[in-house]
């Protein structure tokens, strides 16, 4: 089988992560989490290598990667927006924030923008209910938001600069 250099170096990176854990089924989840953390998603090759290392069928690893919400099979954007849809945020108009993000970036929850820059997710509860409604962008928490605060935050990360969409 022909393997090019780029693929080989990636393979070595996956290997480094995967082989830092014993080859047992109980470590599959934590290995996948580490892959997710390093690459923002679970690459196909990585998935196959995990299965081989843990001695379980690829289908099993695939089912775990698709079951657990912390794992993603497609790459996430550079800027990860998470809008909290916990109960406290929900009744304080959290869903309107999602609509506002859509207005500026044209992405719905679970989607990544065409240029790969932004991805949007709703999450269940971030435990910051006192600050509801809350949104997290690349780990930074923005609390007590109003619909009109969204445009400014997106701009901070270089998005929605298209003036026509901002003024709309």
């Amino acid at each position: 089988m022909y393997i090019d250099e780029k693929e080989l170096s990636k393979k070595n990176e996956y290997k480094r992560i995967i082989y830092s854990y014993p080859g047992e089924q109980r470590y599959v989840l934590v290995i996948l989490q580490d892959l997710q953390k390093n690459f923002n998603y679970i690459p196909r090759l990585g998935l196959q290598m995990v299965a081989e290392h843990a001695g379980v069928p690829v289908s099993k690893v695939y089912s775990m990667a698709s079951f657990y919400k912390a794992l993603s099979l497609s790459p996430k954007g550079r800027v990860a927006i998470k809008v909290c849809d916990g109960t406290a945020c929900h009744i304080k108009s959290g869903p309107v924030l999602v609509d506002q993000v859509y207005k500026y970036l044209h992405i719905k929850p679970g989607e990544t923008s065409a240029d790969g820059e932004f991805s949007l997710e709703t999450v269940n509860c971030l435990g910051a209910c006192a600050l509801a409604p809350v949104m997290v962008v690349n780990g930074k928490v923005y609390g007590k938001l109003t619909p009109s605060s969204i445009a400014g935050i997106i701009k901070e990360y270089g998005g929605g600069t298209d003036e026509s969409s901002l003024k709309e």
Binding site: Q25, L29, V30, T87, G127, C129
Partner: protein, 604 residues
Amino acid sequence: MNQALKNNETTRQIMVCCGTGCIANGSRDVYQALCHELANHDGIDVQPVMKATGCNGWCEKGPLVKIMPDDITYCGVKVKDAAEIVDKTLVGGELIKRLLVRDPVTKSYLKSHHDTPFYSKQHKVALRNIGEIDPASIKDYIDRDGYQALIKVLQNMSPGQVIDEVIQSGLRGRGGGGFPTGVKWKSCADTNACPRYIICNGDEGDPGAFMDRSIMEGDPHTVIEGMIICAYGVQASKGFIYVRDEYDLAVIHLSRAVEDARDGGFLGKNILGSGLEFDIELVRGGGAFVCGEETALMASIEGNLGEPRDKYVFPTEKGLWGKPTVINNVETWANVPVILGKGAQDFASVGTAGSKGTKVFSLVGKVVNTGLVEVPMGTSLREIIYDIGGGVLDGRSFKAVQTGGPSGGCIPGSMLNLEVDFDSLTRAGSMMGSGGLIVMDDHTCMVEVARYYVNFLAGESCGKCTPCREGIRALLDILTRICNGDGQIEDLDLMEQIGETMQEASLCALGRTAPNPVLSTMRYFRDEYEAHILDKHCPAGVCPALTEFYIDADICKGCGSCARNCPVDAVSGKKKEPHVIDNSKCIRCGECYRHCKFQAVRIR
């Protein structure tokens, strides 16, 4: 050791709350600013001890800074306040009034948070150390009698006595089920199989509840001590703490605590010379709500899909890898050292006949003081929401309080005097759950709330059994239809039937309790369902398809607050003249309605 302790008593301590809520409000920067100010100040002889503590619970007023032993609490501290705190308070001994809390009634300034109604009515057991210690310091924990209960147990009690003591205390599982903890331990100890396992369920998934996170972040050693005591009682050799993936800080603090406990001889082989061997491993969850269910959680630790199994045989007999397993929730573990330390009788002196001790609630939603509150079992909803919580936000009227997370129910205003414990909530058609209390005002649509919970569960049902998978989907379809104005009156009976079937036939508690939000809102707020279906009207002004906002020209003063807060520029009007809403632009977010001080924005 004694010298160090003495120093602690005389040295000033400055404690900056670094719980998740305060960090989001900028408390890390405040901490840095205070450190910087102290280091560069020449008027200070003895450097105070700076501590980044866990969550004090009063996230609403964060960032919180406490100064001990003066017992001063400053709220909403900003970076620019740091210099003044050092100059005026630490050096000059003066209080900074604007940073103090004011009594809501007398308007007087309160020096310490202990004097505020939010704290003075609380009774802290599980949260006893949080906000008082640095979670990264095992010494801080030991200074507050940490690991003393374990030492007492190992030196003076037999495993059987430990279990008896927990049974005597009447402690019930704080994770939602309310099963007697001691009985669980006993049934594990009575099996013949080995090895035995102990699990801490830290997969706190209920939206609106964050007490477990607060304990794991703010006082990780109490969880570990509780688990070691149980390990001695049931003779287990290995423990697991399963933490929710989103809780980064909890993972960091717990990992550190496990290591420190190992170094201190509290974990590992021959613990404190007693011959007991026990160690703890941390497992990070994968972000699946159903993993909070114990059999699903164990499947997840084993490296399988987090799907529940039937429980003809309890985990105490066949749990993790088919071996006897005790699994308890974080808050339950936090109570264990107190029970063994002070005795079962002392613990049981608080609470109701059927539910002993205290319960931590996360009081959130449309309430003035949001945060974590720990009160004796049997405290009434009114005391929690009005006396501690300070009542409904913005002076609006109380509609309902939701308890028990997605599996719980909504309790109406007529039942505010309900004394909260495991059994009273179940009788009211809700449940204790993990202890979320979400306050809802007249601007909350109960049909939409039910739809929200069912939608949440639709994403979290693992799909293994039909009643749960299909039942939730059917309920969601119907509720969505009603919220869109396409509901029929027959739908209500249909939802009742579906709900009853799910309660009877689902495999695990997730499915069995999933219809609760629907059934409880139908029970107490049937008129709202009927308004949606018959009058095509959402009384709370939430469901976009059934809501139209308009401005009453007779009341409007033309202050412009609605226009300023409208995200889509749908409100127009000249200053001091009545404004108008353009309904073709309006997205029904309700910002104008919320911001109008004159109640001129109305719902059609």
